[in-house]
């Protein structure tokens, strides 16, 4: 059946229905007696999916080895918000119930808790380390501090009403989220998307990837003690954001995908940007390749083997760094025609993920250059007749494969489900720790650069 992509629950009339999305296809099953069987022993990442189902719907997971709460933190009341009968808009805090962390005990072993508020300007999340001196024995990632209830928020709305919300689920992946929704929109309209609109959105998506990767190629060396790269990386990111702002009216591409932006009038500007950046990134690569103290930090740090990546079904940059082929763009005709090459490395350490990003930056620049040449003006479809049904879409965001599912009933959304690539990769993060010391954690974490907001919803 291949990799587990998602596992979630939705309503089928009055019954609960379990949906398993595997690489080979989708399986649906009506839930009887509010009980389902756990698959977390075969698919380790099923663990968070199942804990989420339990919190959301109060469905018992039989045979699960982890029955702790996931979304509902210490002061959260015992509610099951995704059930139809739940319609409260606010809840009250209840007494503090401690969360039992996964810890290793023993003589001299101690625990380090980090977060939710971190030292840098980053999103909130909690990391719980079991340490033997400097050596990391185990890490538990605990998230959902940013849990906003997006799934419930989107229920009962039309597709057009949720466009603005979806664009702001995760700022780093805004264009990817919008593209996923856009694809579902066209499936529901039973209209084929204009090739030029597809090209425009592909250009925006590649620009978003550039912003994200440029930021990372600055931050990864910075966490490895080479600050000069951050100055350059953040300069490149700023230049890319400004280009995105000129093209779409927002530095993050918010609310840009379902419009006609007339990029064909801005060809010269975009081509100039691409040629400048191509020169810059070549120079940058040449420069950092020559810094031995940097590669001393990056090489062999935070390794994830191919076997582990496969077992956990990792996606995106993390998977490709470990030698696993996983890129939604492989299946897209547009990308194939415009020079897409899948990045791949076999080592799986921080250096691999850094090199993957460098490769993808060069590839994205090349593709933007090829795409903008062929782009012509187009009109937005005015069709508004959304047909009911269940729709799925996949988009390769800057982090990895994004999966979105929408069930429409009477033109309104009955179930909105989205699985951010980070939801899978966060669960594999602890595998990269045991060979390293705690001071390497920021570097390893940054090399994966996962989203908290998209994960928590």
């Amino acid at each position: 059946m291949g990799r587990l992509i998602a596992r979630f629950v939705q309503y089928n009339n009055q019954n609960l229905e379990l949906v398993d999305v595997f690489e080979s296809g989708c399986e649906k099953k009506i839930i009887k007696d509010e009980k389902i069987d756990s698959i977390s022993k075969t698919y380790p990442t099923a663990r968070w999916f199942e804990r989420k189902i339990k919190d959301d719907y109060n469905v018992t997971i039989q045979g699960a080895y982890d029955n702790r709460v996931l979304l509902h933190h210490e002061r959260f009341p015992k509610i099951h918000p995704m059930r139809k009968e739940f319609n409260k808009k606010s809840i009250d805090e209840v007494d503090f119930t401690p969360y039992p962390y996964e810890v290793i005990n023993g003589e001299g072993v101690f625990n380090v808790s980090v977060g939710p508020i971190h030292a840098g300007i980053i999103e909130p999340g909690h990391f719980h380390f079991s340490q033997a001196g400097e050596q990391i024995l185990h890490l538990e990632v605990r998230h959902f501090y940013k849990y906003r209830g997006i799934e419930k928020m989107c229920e009962g709305k039309t597709i057009e009403e949720i466009e603005k919300i979806v664009a702001r689920i995760s700022g780093n992946e805004s264009v990817a989220y919008q593209s996923a929704l856009n694809s579902i929109k066209f499936q529901s309209l039973h209209v084929k998307e204009d090739i030029n609109q597809q090209l425009q959105n592909a250009i925006l998506l590649e620009l978003e990837r550039l912003v994200h990767h440029f930021t990372d190629i600055g931050f990864i060396p910075n966490d490895g003690g080479f600050g000069a790269a951050l100055s350059l990386g953040s300069k490149y990111a700023e230049d890319s954001k400004e280009i995105l702002n000129h093209l779409s009216g927002s530095r993050f591409g918010f609310d840009s995908v379902s419009q006609s932006l007339h990029l064909e009038n801005k060809k010269d500007m975009l081509l100039e940007f691409v040629s400048n950046m191509t020169k810059e990134i070549e120079w940058f690569e040449d420069w950092v390749s020559d810094i031995p103290s940097l590669w001393d930090r990056l090489d062999t740090t935070g390794p994830l083997s191919l076997k582990e990546a496969k077992y956990y079904g990792c996606v995106g940059v993390v998977a490709r760094g470990s030698g696993l082929s996983n890129d939604v763009r492989n299946k897209s005709e547009i990308y194939k025609n415009y020079g897409f090459k899948e990045a791949r490395d076999s080592v799986g350490d921080v250096a691999s993920r850094f090199k993957i990003r460098l490769f993808e930056i060069k590839n994205s620049l090349q593709m933007v250059k090829n795409m903008i040449r062929d782009l012509k003006s187009f009109d937005i479809s005015t069709c508004k007749e959304f047909k009911d049904g269940e729709f799925d879409s996949f988009v390769e965001s800057s982090i990895g494969e994004l999966y979105m599912h929408i069930k429409l009933k009477d033109g309104l959304i009955e179930r909105f489900y989205v699985r951010d690539p980070s939801f899978i990769n966060w669960q594999a993060l602890h595998l990269m720790m045991p060979k390293d010391i705690i001071a390497d954690f920021p570097l390893i974490n940054k090399s994966c650069d996962l989203s908290y907001a998209g994960n928590d919803l």
Binding site: R75, I117, Y145, G149, K164, S170, S174, S234, K235
Partner: protein, 171 residues
């Protein structure tokens, strides 16, 4: 390495005033003098994300890039609320973060000020609806001195906001 030094000596400063208009130069000047006057040349900001989409964080990170270079004006982002004069809050304030946000505020030494950044800190201005998982109402939980609008506010807008905050500041 030789290519690096060659580039170092042949290229000029590539980020200087490239797109920072005259207005921005004025704002920078004013910011620097106000920080000097009202915060003894050093304004420390602690940023707390209470449930944003990460765009506001990304823009605050951008403030330290070579174009804006906020550190040069005496404004720095610090690692702990205990080192901070100002708490910069972004996001909708989720139920799960509510307690931690108030905790961070309580850990700050007095005198302390709170600035909210981004439209979603005021739920009525944001695209998000109130749900059970959003506690919201940041201004009712901690005393907010200034609000910076925008979704997401650009680094320019954040700098202007900081300037307005400093101007409104009685001293």
């Amino acid at each position: 390495m030789i290519r690096f030094w060659k580039k170092r000596f042949t290229s000029k400063i590539v980020t200087d005033n490239l797109k920072l208009d005259t207005e921005m130069i004025e704002i920078k000047k004013e910011l620097k003098s106000l920080v000097a006057k009202k915060f003894a040349r050093s304004l420390s900001i602690r940023m707390v994300d209470s449930g944003s989409c990460n765009a506001c964080e990304s823009e605050c990170n951008a403030l330290s890039n070579p174009y804006y270079n906020l550190d040069r004006l005496g404004i720095s982002f610090v690692a702990s609320p205990r080192h901070a004069d100002v708490l910069l809050v972004s996001g909708v304030n989720t139920f799960n973060m509510n307690h931690h946000l108030i905790d961070a505020y309580n850990q700050m030494p007095s005198p302390k000020y709170v600035i909210t950044v981004g439209d979603c800190t005021k739920l009525e201005d944001s695209v998000f609806d109130k749900t059970f998982a959003i506690a919201g109402e940041i201004d009712k939980k901690i005393p907010v001195s200034y609000h910076i609008k925008g979704c997401a506010p650009t680094p320019n807008e954040i700098m202007k906001g900081l300037l307005m905050f400093l101007k409104s500041f009685p001293k």
